[in-house]
């Protein structure tokens, strides 16, 4: 009673405070069409130092590439390179550049900029991610303002593919990327960077002088960098963003009940690779490798990874036994191995493991599909007497501590424009990242033949033999996964080429995004 006056004042104060807070609602910008997207914090944004999809997607709007991959396939189409020819020996590549393209700072795009981009990648002080790929070049020759010739050390039928990588974005020869590459990126792309708030957000605005007539369609892209996936999904559900990039299959299943948003699948070359070290027991015996493969049920692996979404990924996510993702045009459909526990037991018996086999499998627990794949393996191998102990660790620890040091692991691979790259990196006898220590003379020969062969049909034949080598003696089982994005129904025509590079030019926004009630269920 006695405190009545005091409490009244306090309550009034609280009410006033809450009302003030509520009144400070965000006043939305005028008529501009703003696409709002969220992704995890992208890390570095300078080409050559980017790693991962968030950086590649942000950069996809800021830069242009000489060529881009057509979404869903691994074929390339002209961008800043108008056309190109290769000499009959497969070594001299002449590239004709598009004229009339300007950088965001107004300077003209010419052959100098392409040469700068390549020379910067080769500079050991830069530490460029693609240095080794560009080392295939023996000589760079500027023919005129808009023509360049690359002379290669070895014939390479798919040389142009190196320019599709997100780290090979074309840079301006007059811009200081060492200083400004991460804070104020600048290229010829459809959007200019207006501001970047590190770890929080970025605003990109339309490049009104962009060379593709009539694009980009939206006026601005507002990125919110949110490390937490749950928060991203909440934002998508409640209409705070239009796109949530790279969500998990579990998230997509959850979005199925929400009106106005949908998970979209994009095909890619990412492979989750189960590798076995062929130098050490027990995998040095091909019968053990075969036995393990016989315990697997491909459909079940995909079902365990994708759960409710199985019907949406059926035919798109596949399991096979070679490092060749089905999305490559060189891929051949070969007969899949059927699960056969009896056969697996027999093989183990022959190899001397009749009374059981104990294995330890290492994997990155925070990487897509890894844990699900590992669990499925553990379950499937058990009936054949193979007991697998699972060790899941964060991905950077897996990569720095376990990868290539353990005999049995699951690694994420992919996003290479040309399958030769992966074969050279991980499966030839002298490959630098040969995690499985696989060495097969026939394979080495076939890989080099494939690299030089310019006809797709002939190449496909060579790859068929390569696939057969892997089927018979290979050390890997791969799950070929794609990517999922959560999209508001109003977002149309977002394209994404296989190596993560987002194509934001044709994206349109239709309808009123905020009319739906987020709590309304489908």
């Amino acid at each position: 009673m006695c405190l009545k006056k005091g409490s009244k004042i306090t309550f009034t104060l609280i009410v006033v405070l809450l009302l003030t807070l509520a009144l400070f609602t965000n006043v939305s910008a005028a008529e501009k069409e703003i696409l709002r997207a969220t992704a995890v914090t992208p890390g570095r944004l300078t080409p050559g130092h980017m790693s991962g999809s968030a950086a590649a997607r942000v950069s996809g709007a800021v830069y242009d590439w000489l060529v881009r991959v057509k979404p869903g396939t691994m074929e390339i189409k002209p961008e800043l390179a108008k056309s190109w020819q290769v000499s009959s020996n497969g070594k001299n590549w002449t590239i004709h550049l598009r004229e009339g393209v300007k950088f965001h700072d107004g300077s003209k795009f010419t052959a100098e900029d392409v040469i700068y981009t390549v020379e910067r990648a080769l500079d050991p002080d830069v530490g460029h991610a693609l240095k080794e790929n560009f080392e295939a070049i023996a000589e760079i020759k500027k023919i005129d303002e808009y023509t360049i010739e690359f002379k290669l050390k070895e014939p390479n039928a798919k040389f142009m593919h190196v320019f599709t990588d997100y780290n090979s974005a074309i840079l301006s020869s007059s811009y200081d990327y060492a200083e400004l590459g991460d804070t104020k990126p600048m290229g010829t792309g459809p959007f200019e960077v207006e501001s970047i708030e590190p770890t929080e957000s970025a605003i990109l605005v339309k490049n009104t002088d962009y060379w593709v007539e009539g694009t980009p369609n939206v006026d601005e892209i507002h990125w919110s960098f949110v490390p937490d996936k749950t928060t991203q999904l909440q934002m998508l559900r409640t209409g705070a963003v239009d796109m949530a990039m790279e969500i998990t299959p579990q998230d997509v299943a959850m979005l199925r009940g929400v009106k106005g948003v949908e998970g979209k699948h994009m095909q890619g070359t990412t492979q989750i690779v189960l590798y076995m070290n062929v130098n050490e027991e027990p995998f040095e015996d091909n019968r053990v490798r075969q036995a393990l493969k016989y315990t697997l049920d491909n459909e079940q692996i995909i079902k365990s990874a994708y759960g409710l979404l199985y019907d949406q990924v059926e035919g798109k996510v596949t399991v096979n036994e070679s490092p060749l993702a089905p999305v490559y045009p060189e891929y051949n459909k070969i007969e899949e191995r059927e699960r056969d526990i009896q056969k697996a037991k027999e093989l183990l018996e022959e190899a001397g493991y009749g009374d059981g086999l104990e294995l330890t499998l290492y994997y990155a627990s925070n990487y897509r599909v890894g844990p699900e794949f590992a669990l499925a393996l553990q379950q499937m191998a058990r009936p054949a007497g193979i007991n697998i102990e699972l060790v899941g660790v964060p991905r950077d620890i897996y990569l720095s501590k376990h990868w290539r040091n353990v005999d049995f692991g699951i690694t994420g691979w992919g996003n290479r424009a040309d399958p030769v790259t992966i074969l050279r990196l991980a499966y030839k006898c002298d490959a630098p990242w040969n995690e499985s220590h696989f060495c097969n003379e026939k394979l080495d020969k076939l890989v080099e033949e494939a690299a030089e062969e310019t006809s797709l049909e002939e190449r496909k034949q060579i790859y068929k033999e390569i696939q057969e080598v892997f089927q018979k003696t290979g050390p890997v089982v791969t799950v070929n996964i794609g990517r999922w994005h959560g999209l508001n129904d109003s977002v149309k025509d977002y394209k994404e080429a296989a190596p993560f590079v987002g194509d934001w030019r044709y994206v349109t926004l239709t309808g009123d995004r905020n009319t739906y009630n987020p709590s309304e269920e489908k």
Partner: protein, 318 residues
Amino acid sequence: MLEYIAKRISFMALSLLVTSLIIFLLLEVMPGDVVKIMLGQHATEEAVSSLRAELGLNRPLHIRYLSWINNLLHGNLGESMYMEGVKIAPLVIRRARNSALLAIACLFIFVPISLIFGALGGLTDSKIAEVFISITGLFALSIPSFVTGIFLIYIFSVALPLLPASSNIPPGTSIFQNLESLILPAVSVSLVMFGYVARMTQSSMEDVLQSDYIRTARLKGIPDKYVIYKHALKNALLPSITVIGMNIGWLFGGLIVVEKLFGYPGIGYLLVMGLQSRDIPLVEVIMLFIVTIYLLANFITDLSYSILDPRVEITKAE
């Protein structure tokens, strides 16, 4: 008094130096590798070693520690290791400001409410009201803020979409244009604090009311209103103020779970992000910053306590 303050400040400086060493060594043994995160799996050995050199990671341990401390003393907090060219100081200041705003919002909500409810609970003769406040307090205290946070999100953002589900700040705006995003995180923290403070106030009010001097005052015939305002309340609030003071450090720098749950861009969330990307220079600065906040908060609480309660002579309170 001055001597005491000087002593406390030099003690704080010493504590900071020791914690800086502990933080540095802890992060040194933390598993993970920023270079691997930055360059990804497909980095060449050459790229890895060139980046190591660029980041100064190939220097001996003590050199790195000394150069870090030297830079700190010169006011140079350095650059993020994970994000090239991003200076740590403005980033931490921006996030600390957001966290401070959240802490202030919490204080605004729970301090008046819990003091009033606690005091009323102690004063009332009604057994039901007393038990009600006591139980509500216990309930609020026992449920972690991330649980109440999820319920709050469900009620206020999903069922009745009144408030944003995530408190991240839309690009191009500042926290001051998005004050409504403070409400849910502040309320979920306030509930826990309400539990602590209301129960503390209630029990100390009950104690005070049974004390000899209150009985004496009443027997002297001083009006009830005067007894409560002038004598009981002031004494009953002292322990509550200590509790609030002791939690200031937590409010300003330790709301990691709540910030992460709501995606609120405060210092705690930045710490989580720094740890995830193994951005050691950033994590070092944030941890040191949080330790400083705790030390300062305790220092200020001690000082204010002595001002509120003249019986506490700080010169002897060492």
